[in-house]
């Protein structure tokens, strides 16, 4: 199998050894292995150093890790001094993490999940689920391929390549889109669940929702939505037990 294809497949498991010390580091080393194979025959000493560097601390969004991987591997082949490669890796952590989080976790995933939920609520069932998996994974695989190819093509100039790419533009419109879709999702889900329960039940559920929204925002991370839900259920059991 082609070295780049092997590296691309391995990028999908980049978080396999996620930990609080090296974070994605070992996963990056695992994905870099096929790409560094040719360096072993040319310069075994440099190859050993490159392998050590490839598995050191690294963290970014997994779907954009290919940019850092490709850029550092190319730099290794070009004989760029080791400390400069380490600096490049370190410098890429925050921007790739921030862009990927905004693009995928705060944008694309909520938007597609919202559309899927709307599809389910409107009766599309399995089609909505299949569509979600196909679209998300299509975008993700293409992004992984593009990231690796762009990183390999630009090496130490990867920052400029990212700046002039589609990423900043996509970030501008994806979060408003996610907001719009989530906004449309909530009323449809309300109607889907509460249809048939009657007004009294709907008012009760709305009361819980308003209290949950207000309290979780008021208390912040101390009272997550999961904790609120469990607390509300315990209170409900207590009220039922005392006959309320």
């Amino acid at each position: 199998m082609n070295q780049r294809v092997r590296a691309l497949f391995r990028l999908f498991a980049i978080q396999g050894t996620w930990n609080y010390e090296r974070m994605l580091g070992v996963g990056m080393g695992y994905a870099a292995e096929p790409l560094l194979e040719d360096l072993k025959a040319v310069d075994p000493v440099r190859h050993g150093e490159a392998v050590v560097r490839s598995a050191e601390f690294f963290n970014c969004h997994p779907n954009l890790a290919g940019l850092a991987l490709g850029a550092t591997v190319r730099a290794e082949y070009e004989g760029v001094p080791g400390p400069q490669i380490v600096r490049l890796r370190t410098a890429l952590c925050s921007p790739l993490g921030s862009m990927g989080d905004q693009l995928f976790w705060a944008g694309l995933v909520p938007a597609l999940v919202g559309l899927t939920v709307i599809g389910v609520v409107l009766g599309a069932g399995w089609w909505a689920i299949a569509g979600f998996l196909l679209v998300y994974n299509g975008i993700r695989i293409w992004t992984g391929y593009w990231s690796l190819r762009t990183g390999m093509a630009s090496g130490m100039r990867v920052g400029a390549a990212i700046g002039s790419s589609w990423l900043p533009k996509a970030m501008e419109w994806i979060t408003p889109t996610a907001g719009f879709v989530l906004g449309a999702t909530v009323p449809l889900v309300v109607a889907w669940y509460l249809d048939g329960f009657g007004w009294a039940a709907a008012v009760g559920a709305a009361g819980v929702a308003v209290a949950g929204f207000a309290l979780t925002r008021w208390f912040g991370p101390g009272l997550t939505s999961v904790r609120f839900a469990l607390l509300a259920m315990v209170l409900l059991l207590l009220f039922r037990r005392i006959g309320l």
Binding site: G29, V52, F180
Partner: protein, 226 residues
Amino acid sequence: MSEFSPLVVLPLLLWGTLVGLDLVSVPQAMISRPVVAGVVAGALAGDVEAGLRIGVLFELFALDVLPVGAVRYPDYGPATVSAVALGAGTPWELGLGVSAALGLVLAMLGGWSLQVVRRWNARAIQQQTAALAAGESRAIRWLQYGGVLRDALRGFTLTLAGLVLASTVTESVRLDRPTAVAFTLVAVGSGLAAAASSAFRGSGRGPRLKWLIAGLGVGIVLAVLT
């Protein structure tokens, strides 16, 4: 689910393990999203409707999670599978609340288990420090395989625990109809609070808020028309 037979439990265990792996380790193909995990679990348990209802509910909670950096978050995948196993075969109006209670406890347990695996990974790496410093590719490969295996074990254990709890709840917990319905309404209300919180946090107070409000308007119109 009234009967936890091996023919149903084994596929659910396998599905829960895959879903647990998908969240972080491999392949992050989004099969761990509750709406996906739920509908497949529903099909395996013989009640797709329960899978959809529970899956969408947990999706509302999952939307409140922003898995950035090293943030800690619940694992809704195996939790959804177990909750669907509990709710399958019961009218959703009566089973959703109790299933949600079980699933939410498991989701928190799943979040904690992620931390355990991450610390376990760190210990494995510390044991291989010399090999990593010597640039041994084999050590990197084995660390990676070990990490994936540990996460698979986590997903399996979590799903197994969830199915055992679901079976116990099925046999021992009997709620009267008004309490079961009230549980469902509390679960739905809490899920809506989580989704609304996520939507408002993501939109902030700038121009993105206008898009959220526009979406709300479209959603209300669609809800009235359908």
